[in-house]
Symmetry: C2
Subunit: 254 residues, 2 copies
Amino acid sequence: MKVLIVFAHPNPSSLNAALKDHAFGVLRKEGHEVQVSDLYGMKWKAVLDADDFPSRMDSSPLNVIMAQGEAYGSGTQAKDIAAEQEKLLWADAIVFQFPLWWFGVPAILKGWIERVYAYRFAYGYKDGTNAYRYGEGILSGKRALVSVTTGGPEADYGPRGINGSLDQLLFPLTHGALFYPGMDVLPLFTVYGAMRLDEAGVANAKLALEQRLKRLFVDEPIRFRRQNGGDYLDRHTLASHIAPEVSGLPAHVS
Amino acid sequence: MKVLIVFAHPNPSSLNAALKDHAFGVLRKEGHEVQVSDLYGMKWKAVLDADDFPSRMDSSPLNVIMAQGEAYGSGTQAKDIAAEQEKLLWADAIVFQFPLWWFGVPAILKGWIERVYAYRFAYGYKDGTNAYRYGEGILSGKRALVSVTTGGPEADYGPRGINGSLDQLLFPLTHGALFYPGMDVLPLFTVYGAMRLDEAGVANAKLALEQRLKRLFVDEPIRFRRQNGGDYLDRHTLASHIAPEVSGLPAHVS
């Protein structure tokens, strides 16, 4: 199979880099083809702005959605954006490796999503509307594994941990960015207390990630509800008979 | 009073820009001093990397926390970072104006948080540990108002809306980035369906924001639980007698 690793950490000797390198080795050993998008190494442009649309005819102020759709449709996207879309289309699975910074993905990775996820590619798929999203879309059938490190201890990210539960903090990524264009999203792989790991702790983390990677195409994805699977009314709100006692983010997992 | 507006949108004729301009006018008219950090206009550097530490003595790979703490402590931070910290210390309230992109803040604003929120400034306050956070910290006593626009309709962001409830999607910002260093965070101000607003809709949005701004120093903040207020055990987990039936993000609001 084909696996893309998207990696976002500024330090090539960090735990994150070690996990990324280990993932690369494990996946190759398993017989997969592997590509790596090392966002810091590539000096990835994080900010979505008018420079992303070199062939834009319109001299009026930037309308992001229109400009994305036009550039995507006419094959005039910025080269770095088109290259990442190609990698996504090539891959059978995408592994994200990054540290949790202020309870979300680093800005450079957020900017990768904003720029690569063009209108008519990742949203407005097929017909320009929201008809195809959450469980179907251009990345349908591909798997996503989020591998994240935290500075804080596991207790802080538990169901009643002070930072908020990690599953819910990363819902905008797992549900909002990965499931949205169709990916099957695996449960998070997390290394907590990353700064306090000793040598044995690092070895354990690598081993645990290795075990998850070996089951990359086997493990059961998070059971996010599909927009067009019958649980939502008019693609907006959960029908009243679906998990009637649940509200908030957990309501979207069956 | 003194108000800082942090603004993140690439288009100076967008609804977001109109709301920012309107906020500026209203706040001035109310007698406040106002500064604006227009992140796109300033060409704000979104990516936290080794270039942020021009005086770093260490030639080894970047350790973000150590480098931030050293630069902050020795007054050798990058000038753009120090300038934003000064504005935060100057302000009595901070208004954030941005569009919701992929269910969170735009990358340029995420990078503002990552770079401006240095170690020993916004985290590791006072003693380098987590002893002072969530309700106390360097921005203690200041107010924060998040003013956000969404492309999607309100139904998609309700308690059982398909995108997830907006309050919970933005918890990493309101709780994790604003309440963490001590700010009193007001309930979100949201303009839904921003792309479909007609002239009257824009006028209504401006008026609604104006009403919120006039109560900027009056409205009741979100009742996030304070780390050191007695609800958490050892600064990690909610005590079992606190909202025993609630888990996930809502458990942190009393």
